[in-house]
Each structure stands twice: as structure tokens, then as C-alpha cells.
């Protein structure tokens, strides 16, 4: 760990790979929460929270898609961290003495804590590796003309080029496509 950082950071490539992994994890967990809420709440001794769990599942799926589809995954990872906090708060209510499955809740909390740590490392790494997008030309390309004279003087310089027959507009469509003057159009099309 570096001396002046509180969270160890990853390289840009590794941070993006981790983000993609977390994105897929989000979608997988979300699908499980949406499709099997009863089994999950039963396992945690938190029956009655099925709808809440399904809502969390939708949140996970949305976040996962956001991470995978966005060019800037960092905000979505921060969103996951906020979700982790919500998950921890919700799971903590299952630690009551009268919950016979509170051991399972403890395991789930440990798992969430582990994923939260990954989210934190990923979020911080992405933030530190993000290069500011150049909003102004960083390098002057005004001289990159490519022509010996200004473009206005080169306009049409290659008019000697003959379009090959197979790339020309079919003769029957030329009046329509090229805008041939009406007097040369077939009478039936006037």
C-alpha cells in the first residue's frame, strides 16, 4: 500500500475489469432477488420482506447494467456503495435474538462487507485513473490540411475521376436521384 493513500488502488485496466465483474455480479444477484425472494428471505429468517428484496433486486440489475454500459463506470460503482449501505442496514435488522437464522444473516453481512470493500477499491481506483477528457483542442491541428493549397482551391480537383459504372446511380433512377432537369426526364415522369 502506498504511503499517502488510505485505499490501495488498481491500475486502470484492472479497475475496469473489476468494475465489469461487479456489474455482472450485480445483475446475477439482482436476478436472484427478483426471481427467488421467498427462498432468500426464508434462508435469512426475514419472511415478509419479499417485496423489499425484489425492489433491491431491481436496483441491483439497474446498477449492473449501468456499470456495463456506461463509459464512466465510477458513478455507478458509487451507486453500488450506497446500495451496500442500504443492504447492511436492512440485514442488520435480522440480527435480533428471536431470529433463528441470524447466523445466516451474519454470513450475509460478512459477504456484503467483502463486496463493499471491493466496491470501495474499485470506485477509488476508477476515480484516480480517470483522465480528464479534453474539452478544448490539446494540440493545434489547424495546419493538417492534406492539400497543397487551401481546401476551397482544391474543391473538384479530382473531377477528372470517372465513377465506375457499378457505382453509378442506375440510369432509370438518375432523374430522381441526381436531379436532372425536367426537360430531359421521360414524359411519363413529368
Amino acid at each position: 500500500m502506498s504511503n499517502n493513500r488510505t485505499v490501495d488502488t488498481l491500475s486502470s485496466e484492472n479497475a475496469h475489469s473489476l468494475a465489469r465483474g461487479l456489474g455482472w455480479f450485480s445483475i446475477g444477484l439482482g436476478l436472484a432477488e427478483v426471481l427467488a425472494p421467498r427462498a432468500l428471505t426464508r434462508g435469512l429468517g426475514m419472511q415478509g420482506s419479499e417485496q423489499l428484496l425484489q425492489a433491491y433486486g431491481l436496483r441491483e440489475i439497474a446498477t449492473g447494467i449501468g456499470i456495463l454500459s456506461s463509459e464512466q463506470a465510477a458513478p455507478w460503482i458509487w451507486g453500488r456503495l450506497a446500495g451496500d449501505a442500504l443492504d447492511i442496514a436492512t440485514l442488520s435488522t435480522g440480527l435480533k435474538e428471536d431470529n433463528p437464522k441470524r447466523e445466516n444473516v451474519g454470513i450475509a453481512l460478512a459477504a456484503v462487507a467483502g463486496v463493499t470493500a471491493l466496491d470501495l477499491v474499485c470506485g477509488v481506483s476508477l476515480a484516480r485513473n480517470t483522465s480528464p477528457y479534453p474539452h478544448r483542442p490539446a494540440i493545434d491541428y489547424r495546419s493538417r490540411v492534406g492539400f497543397p493549397k487551401p481546401p476551397e482551391q482544391m474543391r473538384g480537383a479530382a473531377r477528372d475521376f470517372e465513377i465506375p459504372p457499378d457505382m453509378r446511380t442506375p440510369e432509370a433512377l438518375r432523374p430522381f436521384a441526381i436531379g436532372r432537369p425536367p426537360h430531359v426526364m421521360p414524359a411519363t415522369t413529368r
Binding site: 463509459e71 494540440i139 492539400f147 487551401p150 476551397e152 482544391m154
Partner: protein, 391 residues
Amino acid sequence: MKALCWHSAKDIRCDEIPDPRIEHPRDAIIKVTSCAICGSDLHLYDGYMPGMENGDVMGHEFMGEVVEVGPDSRHALKVGDRVVVPFTIICGECDQCQRGNFSVCERSNRNKEVADKMFGHATAGLFGYTHLTGGYAGGQAEYVRVPYADKTHIKIPRNGLSDEQVLFLGDIFPTGWQAAVQCEIEPTETVAIWGCGPVGQMAIRSAILLGAKKVIAIDNVPERLEMARAGGAITINFEEESVVERLNDLTDSKGPEKCIDAVGMEAHAGSSLDAVYDKVKQSVMLQTDRPHVIREMMYVCRPAGTLSIPGVYGGILDKIPFGAAMNKGLTIRMGQTHVNRWTDDLLRRIEEGQIDPSFVVTHRVSLEDGPGMYKTFRDKEDGCVKVVLRP
């Protein structure tokens, strides 16, 4: 020899691999003097094109000196010849080659059966571009084996032209040129070009040379837009203004007659609804390509206009407004470039000083620095528009 090898998505390395050797009487071996990273290499780098295998040598834009010639190519090439190699491998004898449709050569794709299944009928073999197009080793290397070498080359006279002035005859210059030619530009017409990467820059200059009244270039990278303006284009930054509204403003509300897609399958279209839709579907592997540009072109193009598509697409495209295209009577022309069909004429134009394609080069590095430049180019960092590698 050293070569840039693909190992997996976003993992390209400069490896030490065996030198190529003559495998067929029509082969030649080229010592590469200059090669480039092409925008379509980024589809491989990002892992969007199927058919790559661990260790494949990258690169399809390269030139160099002939160092060995197979017996059946000696009538056309000799040791010491200076050549640019087109990215499409051509036999020169099949029905399609005879018609000048070199990018769909019927014989050069040695994985024809796989390609037939993928596309219905196989297309030409390509250098360094997936096993669907033959799995041939590419030119980002010190040496390359060139199959059908008696036809697959563009001979360059030693008359003072630098590598960078002629290197792009192998791909981006004829690609931009063909994109403009397919538009059959009339002097009264407006050509809109999506994408100001290397192919877009060449298409802009080709459209100017072919006499377009107005060329409009669309992108969101400031320095690329500036390079487009330098070449004579009016520019639209799609992050700052509506492309459709601005194109209509610039064409008396009629839309451009000719539209060129120099973007392809990885469109970055900001926060438009269809762009977000594409990203989501592509991210969860429900879609191969992000065809925002095709949708926008079909919508904004003037009725009876032409869409020209040099941008590379790989698979199945979703939500294409084909009703607009059909009812407006649009002509759609597309395909990989028939490189050798244009290169004699384009080499003459370079020799005569009508155009100098080296304007597009922004970065020059050694082969060893190539892997890092893939990322720089992909992320458009450091003003990167075109990278030339010197093995």
C-alpha cells in the same frame, strides 16, 4: 522477430515469434518498414469481433521491402521492391477479382467454410483480422508473409515519397476515397460524414477533391473536428448541438444528399436514447453492434439520397429504421474496400501533389510501444488520430 500479438480483449503484447516463411509458390516475405494501427483494429482490441485466437498477429496497414519471393510471384515482384500491401488479400483471378470486387475475392479466405456459415458467403482473406477472414498473420511485425503476393501489393517507386505519404494506400485512403466515390458526388451536393477518425478525415478530403459543394463532418473530439475543418469541412460537435437540426439548418431543411458512416460498430453517441439502448444491449451480450450512425443517416438523409458505409459492422443490428430508408428511396452502398481498384489513381494523385495523406499522422512509435498506443488511440488521448509504428 517481434510482432504485436492479440492475447485477449484489451491485451495486446509485443512478443517474440518465429519469422514467417514461404508456404506457397505465390507467397512473398516483406520486411516491414512502417505499419499503422487502424480504427478497425480497435474492434479486435475491444473484443467485439469474433474469431480471434490467442497469439494472432495484429495489423493490416503496412508496407516494406520484399526480401523473399515464391517462384510463382517472381514475374511480378523481385527482392528489393518497395511495396504497400493492401489489407484485402486478392487472387486476381476469380470472378469477383475480375470484376474489381477485390474485397470479396472468392479464393483468398482460407476459412471459407466458417465465413460461409457466418455471412452466407465468404469474403476475402484479410491480414490480421480474425479467423473469419482467413486468420492470416498481420503486419504489425518485423516481417510478414503475403499470400498471392503477385497480386496483393501496390508497387511504390523510389522517387522521394516517404513511407507516411504512401502507407495509407493500403487501407484508410482508398477506404475514404471509395466511401466518397460510392456517393457519386455532384457539384451541387452536400456530403455529411459521421466520424472524424482517420477514415473520416480521408473521406472529407476525397469529397472535397471530388467536388462536393459542402462537406459536413460530425464528431465530438475537438482536435479531430479541428483537423476536419483544416480539410475544408463544416463541423458539428454532437455533444454540443443536435446533429439532425444542424444538418437541416445547413441544407435548407432538406437534409444532405449524401451521407457517409465512417464510424461503424462502436458508435459513441453520448446520451441519446438509442445510444444508451445499444450500450445496454451490447453490454449484456444481446447485441453485437451499436448502429446509432446508420439510424441517424437514414433519418436525416434527403429523399433519393445515398448512404455510403465504409465503417465496419460485425453482426446483427437492432432497431434500424428501414421504413424511412425504403420510403425515401435511399441507395445504400457499403463494403470493405476494393483497395487495388483505386490505388493506381490515388498513387498518381499523391505523386502529383494533389493530396498528402501523411497529414493524419499524429503519433510515431516503435513496435515495442505499440500495445500502449492501442489504448491511447482507443481513448483518443493526447490528440491521437493516427499511430504509425516503426518495426
